[in-house]
C-alpha cells in the first residue's frame, strides 16, 4: 500500500464525487415518464431482497444485555474504587488530600488524623456521586494509585450512599492479599487487542 493517499492532505477533493440524481420533472409528460420508470424499475424488490438476505445470513448483532456484557475499555471512568497494597493488604491511601484539592466539582471530602504510629489515617472519606462528573482528576493526581476508577457502570441502587461508602469502595482484603486486585491503567492506556484492529499507524505520514 502506497502512502500517497495518506500524504495527500487535500481532503476536499480527493474522494468526493457528485451523486447522480436527476432533477425533478416539471412537465406532466416528465412526471408520467418518472412514474413509469419508477413502476417498472423494481426498486421495491431490491428492498425486499436486502432484508431477506439479512434474514438468511442471520448475522445477529444483538447483545443480550443482562446475560452478555460488552467489555469495558481500560480507560473507562465509572464509579471509584480504593485500592490496597499487595501482600500486606494495607490501604494505599496516605491521606495526602490531593484528590480533595483537585476535584473540580468539590465532591470528595476526607478527614484525617495521626494514628498511634504517627501515620496519617483516613477517618472519613466520601465521594458525593451526585456532584461527581467522573473527570478522573482524582485518579490522575493520586501519588499512591490509591483512588482509581472501576468498571462498574450499572448504577441502579436504592441508596446513593451504596457507592460512596469508603469501605464499599475499598478492595476486599482477601482479594487484595490473593493478588486479584485489578490495576487501573487510566489515561493513555491502550485497549487490549488494539494492535489487531489498527491497520496502518497514523504516524506513517
Amino acid at each position: 500500500m502506497s502512502l500517497e493517499q495518506f500524504q495527500d492532505r487535500n481532503v476536499a477533493e480527493q474522494n468526493y464525487f457528485h451523486v447522480d440524481i436527476a432533477d425533478y420533472p416539471t412537465t406532466n409528460m416528465g412526471k408520467f415518464k418518472r412514474l413509469l420508470s419508477r413502476t417498472f424499475k423494481g426498486e421495491l424488490f431490491v428492498g425486499l431482497w436486502v432484508v431477506f438476505r439479512e434474514m438468511v445470513k442471520f448475522d445477529i448483532h444483538t447483545v443480550q444485555y443482562p446475560k452478555e456484557k460488552l467489555p469495558v475499555g481500560p480507560r473507562y471512568r465509572a464509579v471509584h474504587k480504593m485500592q490496597r497494597l499487595f501482600e500486606s493488604g494495607t490501604e494505599r491511601c496516605i491521606g495526602c488530600g490531593l484528590c480533595e484539592k483537585i476535584c473540580i466539582s468539590n465532591c470528595i471530602r476526607m478527614e484525617t488524623k495521626l494514628d498511634e504510629n504517627s501515620r496519617k489515617l483516613v477517618t472519613d472519606y466520601t465521594i458525593n456521586l451526585g456532584r461527581c462528573i467522573f473527570c478522573g482528576y482524582c485518579a490522575e493526581v493520586c501519588p499512591e494509585l490509591a483512588i482509581v476508577h472501576g468498571a462498574r457502570y450499572e448504577n441502579a441502587s436504592d441508596q446513593r450512599a451504596h457507592f460512596t461508602d469508603f469501605n464499599d469502595m475499598l478492595t476486599p482484603i482477601d482479594s487484595a492479599i490473593a493478588g486479584k486486585q485489578k490495576e487501573f491503567d487510566g489515561f493513555g492506556a491502550v485497549t487490549p487487542h488494539e494492535d489487531e484492529r489498527v491497520n496502518i499507524t497514523p504516524l506513517a505520514y
Binding site: 421495491l44 428492498g47 425486499l48 432484508v51 431477506f52 439479512e54 434474514m55 442471520f58 445477529i60
Partner: protein
Amino acid sequence: MDMAFLIETIVKIVVILLVFSALAGFGTYFERKVLAFMQRRLGPMHVGPYGLLQIAADGIKLFTKEDIVPQNVVAPIFKIAPVITAATAFMAAAAIPFMPSFTMFGYEVHPIVADINIGILYILGVMGAGLYGPLLGGLASANKWSLISTARAASIFISYEVITGLALLAPLMMVGSLSLIDFNTYQAGGFGDWIVWSQPVAFVLFVIAGFAETGRTPFHLVANDHEIIDGFGTEYSGMRWGLFFIGEYANMFFISFVIAIIFLGGYGDGSGLGALALLAKVSFIFFFFLWTRAAWPDIRPDQLMWLCWKVLMPIAVINIVITGIVMMF
C-alpha cells in the same frame, strides 16, 4: 334444520374462533421474530425458549390490564368499536373453505361454515364493515390523534374498496360464480390452471387492495405509530385494544386465505397434499405481509388515494374490458 347440522356448524364455528384467535397471537410472535431477523436483531428471547411464551405473557398482560374508559368519550360506541373489528373479522371467515372436505369417524366434514353462493361478496362486505371498528372507535375517543386516524380510515375505505371490487370482477367473469369452492374447483387442474396466470393484473391489484384493507405497511396509515401514536387505538387499553389486535391479525390470515383460494389454486384437487399446499401458500402470503413491513416505507394518505383512484382503478377497468373482449371471442 336437523340437529346434526346445527351441532356440526357450532363445532366448526368454535374451532375457527379458537384456532384463529390462537393464530393471531402466534402471528404477533412470528411478526416480531421475522422483523427482528431482517433487522439483525433477535426479537423476543426472554420468556420461554426463544421467547415462545411471549404470546402467553402478552395475553396475560392484555387480559389483566385495567380497562379504562376515559372521560368525554362516547362510552357505548367506544365500547362496541373493538367488538366490531374482531367480530367482523371472524364473521368473514364463515364463507372461507379452509381445507378440502375430509371424512372423520365415517362422517364427511366440509371445513367451511356456510357455502353460500355469494361467498366472496359476503367476505368482502363483512370485511368492509370491519372498518367501522376504527371509524367509530376513533370518532368516539375524544382524542385528536384518533380523529385523524378516523379521517384516514374513511379516506382509505373509499379508495381501496373500489379496487377490491373491480380487481375481483375479472376472475369472477371467468369463473362465473361467487362461491370460493367454485373458484377452487375452477383451478383444480393444477399449477397451470391458477387464475394468477390468466389474471396477473387482477392478482397484483387485489394484493395491493388487501394490504390497504388490512392496513399493513405500505398503507399502514390508520394506526401509524410514528405519526399519530396508535390512531384509533390511542385511548384503548387492555382487552379492548387486544380485540382490535386480534381482529387485525385474523383479518390478515383470512385475506391470505382469500388470495390463495382465488388466485393461487386454493387446495387444488382436494387431496391431503392440496391442503398442505394451501397452508404453504397462506403462510407465504402472511410472511409477505411481514416482509414488506421490514422493507418498504409507508406512503401518505393522499398518495394512497392518488394511487387507488388515478392509477389502480383505470388499470382495473381496462383489465375488465380486456377480459370481457377475450371471453367474447
